[in-house]
């Protein structure tokens, strides 16, 4: 048996064909690889995060229902545990803390959470990375969340000092831990996590009760419920139990900060797995169709011969299908490799924002099979028409060369055409209109890369805009100070007296439940002086509004979810101060991109609550040369329970988002370049193949290489140019979908696309298209006139 007979003759033809069109096949394989890779990256990361989260939640008994309360007696435990469906109860003390960290001028903040003196918590258990849990009999021991510990290079044995409820404590780290409750830990007032400036601390109940004067009391509840339980009923019952003690309304996981952020991320990952890969599948199916049709047109006579020789239809169809499958295999392999590699990158990126004790990478064999399967299926779908043409071709017809392609006159009469264009341009135009479907699909394919870029780049514009409005037009303060408890307005004077403070404005905040018919949301109402300047409220046209003496201002998101219009009366349920309900008219709808916002005049809020004039904190403008002394003073001031450093969170936000965007940008520019190259290069090659003879004839007639290339370039240029407006339009649509899809109670992305974004997207695509054409233009230059003219096509 000769080595050759291992591969049939047809298979050898197949391999030679593949070798001949390797560059076109590679261009298509790359497009396929992008589809496979994006699917693996998005779904792989989705599954890894999802599995990791649910394993962490299950093993460490993450709570289902949460509530906070001003101060409730521990003897409520039996009543709470007795609620129908509750399987685990943890009654805790949670207090804010201001921290003095070594090597850090600005104060860090955190929360201190109580854990049982002995044994593990029934709910929200801790994963101990190193060391041990603090002891109840030794004072000043604490377990620290891993991200904060890492940022400060803490180890068991390290010490630091903290201000908890006005008391300065020197704390010793006994262990580094992770909690399912704080996978995503965000300091109040921050927009992205800052591991250095926000920590979570765990102390034995007795110790923390001593510091916070909460003996026999708790201010926070975490419940686990049974699988068959009805959380809504539990929440109502719990609210009833806690109301007398200043309950602020129980809520489910969906409203728990860490969980909600993680969920939001998962939703986006799944969305990108649904949206992006199909673009690549569509483009690769189209490209397969294009090159296969051309190949079969060129091989009509060979196909006729094969049929005459007695090869069956199935054998011939299978021959071409095999070629497609081989190209797919290259694409799928490349996709697997890239997907794996980039998948790690994405997971690393997530690990920076989410604190997991471990990462679970589920077996993704099915994912690989599925992505390979749909890639092959899409490609074969693209190939069907071309292959069907082969099967249907009678042997005799196949042996005859096709008649010259029929062209039509474009632009009535053709006279006008000649007045306007040279013969070379007319040639290009006629070719373009000869295959309208193909030209249209090529245009669509190219426009998809423009659209992909617009969709990726516009987030720059939105974030810029958001930073501009949020940071420089609304939150103009250097820092926000919050008190442990509401205080008399006189406290403002003490704030003004802090070193370096140039100006201070008071605010009051209270937890409420806003209700309109059957729509309700928990949030806080912010009370501000009518003449606010540091913390400004902007209307929908982004103009500062003066707070009216009466009525409530709500953000667009709040108006949307509660179905509120101007003048509607919304029911305000006070959660903290006795739980009264009052109807308040909505006097204005305002702009806000972060969280749920409801604002009213501080005097009106005082009247609503009815306990006289109180303030919860102050916004300050500081002399930046005296920041260090200010920070030092804040760390020593017992009344201050928290400080949000706007300046720092601003730059931190810019930094983080900037990094993310530049990673995302390079990925998307790469993806768009691959689509553009795949589409333009293949069209150019096919055009060249169809017209090599014409081009050679033109060269024989004395046209220069440049003139002949122009025919090729004009047609592609028209296609690529037509793709731009279409791409802008599609990109605008995709971006709109992204904005709509990412609206949540946590944040809202403004829908802003700058003209420059369209321009950059087009420049990238035009650049790549030009390079692709340049490759093919090389072939015009190398055209062998004699050989082309000798053979009949």
């Amino acid at each position: 048996m000769s080595p050759g007979s291992f591969l049939g003759t047809l298979d050898r033809k197949l391999l030679r064909d593949l070798a001949r069109i390797w560059s076109q096949s590679l261009a298509i394989a790359l497009v396929m690889a992008c589809g496979v890779a994006t699917l693996i990256i998005a779904l792989g990361a989705y599954r890894a995060l999802e599995e990791t989260r649910s394993a962490f939640y299950d093993r460490y008994r993450f709570a289902h229902v949460f509530a906070s309360v001003t101060r409730a007696p521990l003897n409520l435990r039996a009543a709470i545990a007795g609620l129908d469906g509750v399987s685990g109860v943890e009654l805790r003390i949670v207090r804010p803390a201001v921290l003095d960290m070594q090597g850090m001028a600005e104060p860090a903040t955190g929360v201190v959470v109580s854990i049982p003196d002995v044994g593990e918590p029934a709910v929200n258990r801790l994963y101990i990375r190193s060391g041990r849990l603090p002891s109840a009999v030794r004072r000043g021991e604490v377990a620290v969340s891993e991200s904060f510990a890492t940022a400060h290079r803490m180890e068991p044995g390290s010490t630091f000092s903290a201000l908890i409820d006005g008391r300065k404590q020197t704390l010793t780290v006994t262990g580094i831990v992770l909690s399912p409750e704080y996978i995503y830990a965000l300091a109040p007032g921050d927009m992205v996590p800052d591991q250095r400036r926000f920590g979570v601390f765990f102390m034995p109940r007795t110790v923390l009760a001593g510091i916070a004067e909460m003996d026999g009391a708790f201010n926070d509840v975490a419940l686990r419920v049974r699988r068959d339980a009805k959380p809504a009923q539990i929440i109502d019952a719990l609210d009833d139990l806690l109301r007398p003690y200043g309950g602020r309304g129980a809520y489910e996981r969906a409203d728990q900060m860490s969980h909600a952020f993680l969920d939001n991320e998962l939703v986006q990952l799944r969305a990108s797995a649904i949206v992006v890969p199909p673009i690549f599948l569509f483009v690769s199916a189209f490209l397969v169709n294009m090159i296969l049709s051309r190949m079969i047109a060129l091989e009509r006579e060979q196909i006729g011969l094969l049929k005459a020789l007695g090869y069956g239809r199935a054998a011939i169809a299978g021959h071409y299908a095999k070629l497609v499958v081989l190209i797919c295999l290259c694409g799928v392999m490349l996709g697997f490799a890239a997907g794996n590699w980039l998948g790690f990158g994405l997971t690393r990126l997530y690990a920076r924002f989410f604190s997991f004790p471990f990462l679970i990478f589920p077996q993704n064999a099915d994912l690989y099979l599925i992505s390979a399967g749909i890639t092959v299926a899409a490609a074969l779908a693209g190939a069907t028409r071309a292959i069907w043409g082969v099967v249907a071709l009678p042997a005799a017809v196949a042996m005859r060369a096709p008649a010259p392609t029929r062209y039509r006159s474009v632009l009535a009469g053709g006279r006008l055409l000649h007045l306007l264009f040279s013969q070379l341009t007319v040639m290009a135009l006629r070719h373009l209109f000869r295959w309208p479907a193909r030209s249209a699909l090529t245009t669509l394919g190219t426009s998809l890369s423009v659209a992909l870029l617009v969709t990726a780049l516009f987030s720059f514009d939105s974030v810029d805009f958001m930073v501009d409005t949020v940071f420089s037009r609304t939150e103009r303060q250097h820092a926000t100070l919050t008190f442990g408890n509401d205080r008399s307005p006189r406290a403002l004077q003490s704030v003004e007296k802090l070193p370096g403070v140039l100006r201070a404005e008071p605010f009051r905040a209270t937890a409420v439940k806003l209700r309109n018919k059957n729509h309700e949301r928990r949030m806080s109402i912010l009370g501000l002086p009518a003449q606010t300047d540091l913390q400004r409220i902007l209307d929908l046209d982004l103009q500062p509004v003066r707070l009216p003496e009466r009525g409530l201002l709500v953000s667009e998101r709040v108006a949307d979810v509660l179905k509120l219009g101007l003048g509607d009366r919304v029911e305000v349920g006070l959660l903290e101060h006795g739980g009264r309900s009052v109807f308040v008219p909505v006097t204005s709808i305002v702009q806000s991109y972060v969280g749920l916002t409801a604002v009213m005049d501080i005097g009106a809020l005082d009247r609503l609550i009815g306990d006289g004039r109180r303030i919860s904190g102050a916004y300050i403008l500081a002399d930046s040369s005296k920041l260090e002394t200010l920070y030092r003073a804040v760390k020593q001031t017992p009344a201050i329970a928290g400080i949000a450093l706007k300046e720092i969170s601003r730059s931190r936000f810019r930094e983080t988002i900037g990094e993310n965007i530049s990673i995302m940008m390079s990925v998307y520019v790469g993806l768009a370049a691959i689509i553009t190259f795949g589409v333009v290069y293949n069209s150019a090659r096919i055009q060249f193949s169809e017209r090599a003879r014409e081009f050679a004839s033109l060269r024989v007639l004395g046209f220069t290489r440049a003139e002949v290339s122009a025919v090729l370039v004009i047609e592609l240029a028209l296609i690529v140019l037509a793709a731009q407006p279409l791409g802008w339009l599609l990109g605008y649509g995709f971006a709109w979908l992204v904005v709509e899809g990412s609206q949540s109670d946590l944040f809202r992305i403004p829908f802003i696309i700058e003209t420059s974004t369209f321009a950059v997207a087009s420049l990238v695509v035009l650049g790549v298209a030009a390079i692709s054409v340049l490759f093919v233009q090389q072939r015009v230059n190398r055209l062998d006139m004699v050989r082309v003219l000798k053979t009949r096509e």
Partner: protein, 240 residues
């Protein structure tokens, strides 16, 4: 044609050889061809398949380069020309007619001709050229709407429209039946006569040789015989 013109060669080829190399196989397509063509002359190149006729014609037309030897067109040494000089030479001086017409399918007959007139120095009107080959009525037709002979006549119109000094035809009647073949030959000889275009014509049809002034017989890469026709016949009298 008068005697003075015959003394001044338009083309002169000296000992032209052409070797094709593909891998380690060498094919000697031309093994030392020398000839001269004169102003207004009609020459026919005959010879068995593979004897080197097309190769030689292509070198004369500036489509291909000789391996050794020199080819001159008047004062221009083609064998020393750069690619862009050859392009200019083809554009300004040469008309080609091929066996397979090589029309541009996306252009009408008229447009195929004006393709050339647009870039030529002193062209005739495309309509006039088409009239010369008897196709004025079919100007607006695309190649797909024309018969083989009509397509070939469009190709001739395209070749002559720039009023070339030389017309090089490689088996222009090869794909045609006798009646359309005669049409095409009539068009060629009319142009040769009326415009004084030096014409070289390759054919396998021995009958056609009698319309030429001179006949060159190729054999195995060489000119085996050169013959002068004392009496020429009209294309219409060619026996196919």
């Amino acid at each position: 044609m008068n005697k003075q013109d015959m003394t001044k060669p338009v083309f002169s080829a000296q000992d032209v050889t052409k070797v094709y190399r593909s891998g380690d196989v060498e094919v000697h397509a031309l093994r030392g061809v020398s000839l001269e063509l004169f102003e207004g002359e009609m020459a026919v190149l005959l010879g068995p398949s593979g004897s080197g006729k097309s190769t030689f014609l292509n070198i004369m037309g500036g489509l291909d380069q000789a391996t050794r030897g020199t080819v001159r067109f008047r004062d221009l040494e083609l064998t020393a020309c750069s690619e862009s000089q050859l392009t200019r030479y083809r554009r300004n001086h040469v008309g080609f007619v091929f066996q397979f017409y090589n029309l541009i399918p996306s252009l009408t007959a008229w447009e195929n001709v004006s393709l050339v007139t647009e870039i030529a120095r002193d062209p005739m009107d495309p309509g006039e050229a088409l009239e010369l080959v008897g196709l004025k009525e079919r100007m607006q037709h695309f190649p797909a709407q024309l018969s083989g002979g009509e397509q070939q006549r469009v190709a001739i119109a395209r070749a002559i429209a720039k009023k070339p000094e030389v017309l090089l035809c490689d088996e222009p009647t090869g794909a045609l039946d006798s009646k359309t073949g005669i049409f095409v030959l009539e068009a060629l000889s009319r142009i040769n006569r009326e415009l004084g275009t030096t014409t070289a014509l390759i054919t396998h049809n021995a009958g056609i040789q009698r319309i030429a002034h001179r006949v060159f017989s190729f054999l195995d890469g060489r000119i085996a015989e050169t013959r002068v026709n004392e009496t020429r016949i009209e294309p219409a009298d060619v026996t196919w």
